[in-house]
């Protein structure tokens, strides 16, 4: 029977596409499996992880430890390196065969390449960069009540609605939108790394996880792209996503760029270790490379402490850091928008303020 994405009743189960690179599982997989477990429980269906690659069968059980009922392995030489052609074909083959109701994919550079291609091929809807997912309407209503300024007293919700409600930021986070895909399946969603919480690992569950090997059919003609080489940059990875402390610099360091970046590093160290980030202006001017960029077109971060030095706080920067636990802003201009989202702000010359901060913090630490 030909695959028809509008025959909704035929689709069942929550799937998570689990990305691996050279045998290493991406951290997001565990976050999405944990989230998927919650959704599967709400829906009363199964949670299944899917891994594509070569010589990756051993990676399956671990997903069970985080809550997967089953893992499907697609193992083939042609899947060793990621290519859109091979991965899209194989993943769509499995989806069309088994018909999952929901597919979650981590929004890595690769996930964001694969997901839209598959959604188009499957003729279904895809929502990118979701920050919150609900199936159960009760849970969704609770979420809306606490996270929005909407007056829900007059709204009627269909409580039996089991569509996946995918909430994501738009316009740089200024607006939140909940998207649904009511007429097609699978309902697809990508989720950024670090957004969902990784659950507890259970050795017992891992052992009990079922692993199925799915036959892969790929031939030469399927592959239009060839990977010539994969290069890991020798330079230090700027791990903004994993950082607990981020000290970012903006245009305000222009009068002494080197010193500004140095101060940011020192301040991050004073806090016990952190990563230096930058606004788009700083990256565009070439003062920091693109992997330091925090913001709408850079990375979205949720560190414990975010310090913004000489950053004005335009909406597209705020979008990338406004959910940080504690935000400290230093800017010469007391009217800078960054102060609207900062917990603590100091209006002054960062080149004078930051050295004082470093000294004070070191002193407090020494006294302990």
């Amino acid at each position: 029977m030909k695959f028809n994405s509008s025959c909704i009743e035929e689709f069942k189960d929550i799937w998570v596409f689990c990305e691996q690179r050279h045998g290493q599982m991406m951290n997001t997989n565990y976050e999405l499996i944990s989230e998927g477990r919650k959704l599967a429980d709400e829906r009363g269906s199964k949670l299944i992880g899917v891994i594509l690659g070569h010589n990756i069968a051993h990676l399956g059980k671990e997903l069970g430890g985080y809550g997967a009922d089953k893992v499907i392995i697609c193992d083939d030489e042609n899947l060793k390196e990621y290519t859109t052609d091979a991965y899209a074909k194989v993943f769509c083959d499995v989806v069309m065969d088994k018909k999952p109701e929901v597919v979650l994919i981590g929004a890595s550079n690769i996930g964001r390449d694969l997901a839209p291609r598959c959604a188009a091929r499957l003729h279904t809807g895809l929502t990118a960069d979701c920050t919150h997912l609900d199936i159960d309407m009760n849970n969704y209503v609770d979420f809306i009540e606490t996270s929005s300024t909407l007056d829900l007293s007059k709204t009627k919700f269909k409580m039996e609605d089991t569509n996946l409600k995918m909430t994501r930021p738009a316009f740089g986070g200024h607006l939140m939108a909940t998207i649904i895909c009511p007429r097609f399946r699978p309902c697809m969603s990508t989720v950024r790394p670090g957004v969902m919480k990784k659950g507890e690992f259970s050795e017992e569950k891992a052992k009990a996880c079922e692993v199925e090997t799915y036959p892969v059919s790929l031939c030469e003609d399927d592959l239009q792209t060839k990977v010539l080489e994969v290069v890991k940059e020798a330079k230090q990875i700027v791990d903004l996503i994993g950082a607990e402390v981020i000290v970012s610099v903006g245009r305000g360091i222009s009068k002494d760029i080197e010193k500004g970046i140095e101060l940011a590093k020192e301040l991050a160290d004073a806090f016990g270790g952190g990563v230096v980030g930058g606004s788009r202006a700083v990256v565009d001017s070439g003062w920091l490379s693109a992997d330091h960029q925090v913001g709408q077109t850079g990375k979205t971060v949720h560190p414990k402490v975010y310090v913004a030095l000489g950053i004005s706080g335009a909406i597209q920067h705020k979008a990338g850091m406004q959910d940080s636990e504690l935000i400290i802003a230093i800017n010469k201009d007391e009217k800078a928008p960054i102060f609207d989202c900062a917990d603590f702000g100091i209006s002054g010359d960062l080149f004078k303020i930051v050295p004082m901060m470093i000294e004070n913090i070191k002193e407090v630490k020494n006294n302990k």
Binding site: R121, T124, G125, L175, I179, V231, I327, F344, S347
Partner: protein
């Protein structure tokens, strides 16, 4: 050989964002710009044009005022512009949009050596979906997150960025490439000569009538009604509570800050 560059006119979110009382964006109050990632795509296309002498077509789906943006791109060096605009196309999600753009490109013609450039994502939607979905509809290979592109005979050698490094990928044309900023690709300015010529260069408007015979255009799969995804609810998140500005001269303010951080066990 022809290069298509897909571009989008977006609200300028680097300034103040105005919101209507009902929570929706007040697009009218914001100035429009060419989507930043698309500027990279345009630059990559024009660089290849400088090297190879091929034609560059700028294509956009949008309201009539998007023509001004196409003229700007013509003033940068593109050869002709295509505006896809029609009431029937309004409200399309990425799936429907990519279908319409793919139909337009099919209508204009795509040959073996052609390349389609897109920006990675637009700053209003942030989905990064339209590029790959156009490629799927046209049944051509895609390479996303492309930083450098070199033409070698009938193939392209592309540096494709990963989070911690990159891949060198070889792909046959025709293909679709989405571009990211990397390696000091600086979008060029318009030139005065370019401005003087841009209104003389051809600009075609494709509406529903012009495209309705294309197989990819099906009234049930375009526009708001045809889109697989719909907006269920949109809302503004409550603003993070206004914080405290620490007063006093530098020394005092820093002392206050340190003491607060200590109390919060941050340090």
């Amino acid at each position: 050989m022809r290069i298509y560059v897909c571009v989008k006119q977006v609200p300028d979110t680097s300034g103040k964002v105005a919101v209507n009382p009902d929570g929706t964006l007040n697009r009218g109050s914001m100035s429009t710009i060419i989507n930043p990632d698309d500027m990279i795509a345009i630059e990559q296309a024009l660089k290849l044009k400088d090297e190879l002498g091929c034609g560059v077509t700028a294509i956009t789906m949008g309201p009539p005022q998007a023509e001004k943006m196409l003229r700007e791109i013509l003033a940068m060096g593109a050869d002709d512009g295509v505006l896809i605009s029609s009431r029937e196309f309004g409200g399309s999600d990425t799936f429907a949009t990519s279908q319409i753009i793919a139909a337009a490109i099919t209508h204009l013609g795509i040959s073996d050596e052609d390349i389609i450039f897109c920006g990675r994502q637009a700053i209003d939607g942030d989905t990064a979906q339209v590029g790959p979905q156009i490629a799927e509809k046209l049944n051509i290979p895609q390479v996303t997150y492309a930083a450098t592109i070199k033409k070698e005979d009938k193939k392209l050698a592309i540096k494709r960025m990963l989070e911690d490094g990159y891949m060198m990928v070889e792909v046959k044309t025709p293909c679709l490439i989405t571009c990211v900023k990397e390696d000091n690709i600086l979008p060029r300015y318009m030139t005065i000569n370019g401005i003087m010529e841009c209104y003389k260069k051809p600009l075609t408007v494709l509406d529903f009538e012009a495209l309705k015979e294309e197989p990819l255009i099906d009234i049930d799969t375009i526009g708001l009604k045809g889109s697989p995804t719909n907006i269920f609810k949109s809302f503004t998140p409550p603003q993070k509570g206004v914080g405290i500005m620490l007063e006093g001269d530098g020394k005092e303010a820093v002392a206050q800050l340190t003491s607060k951080l200590e109390k919060l066990h941050v340090i």
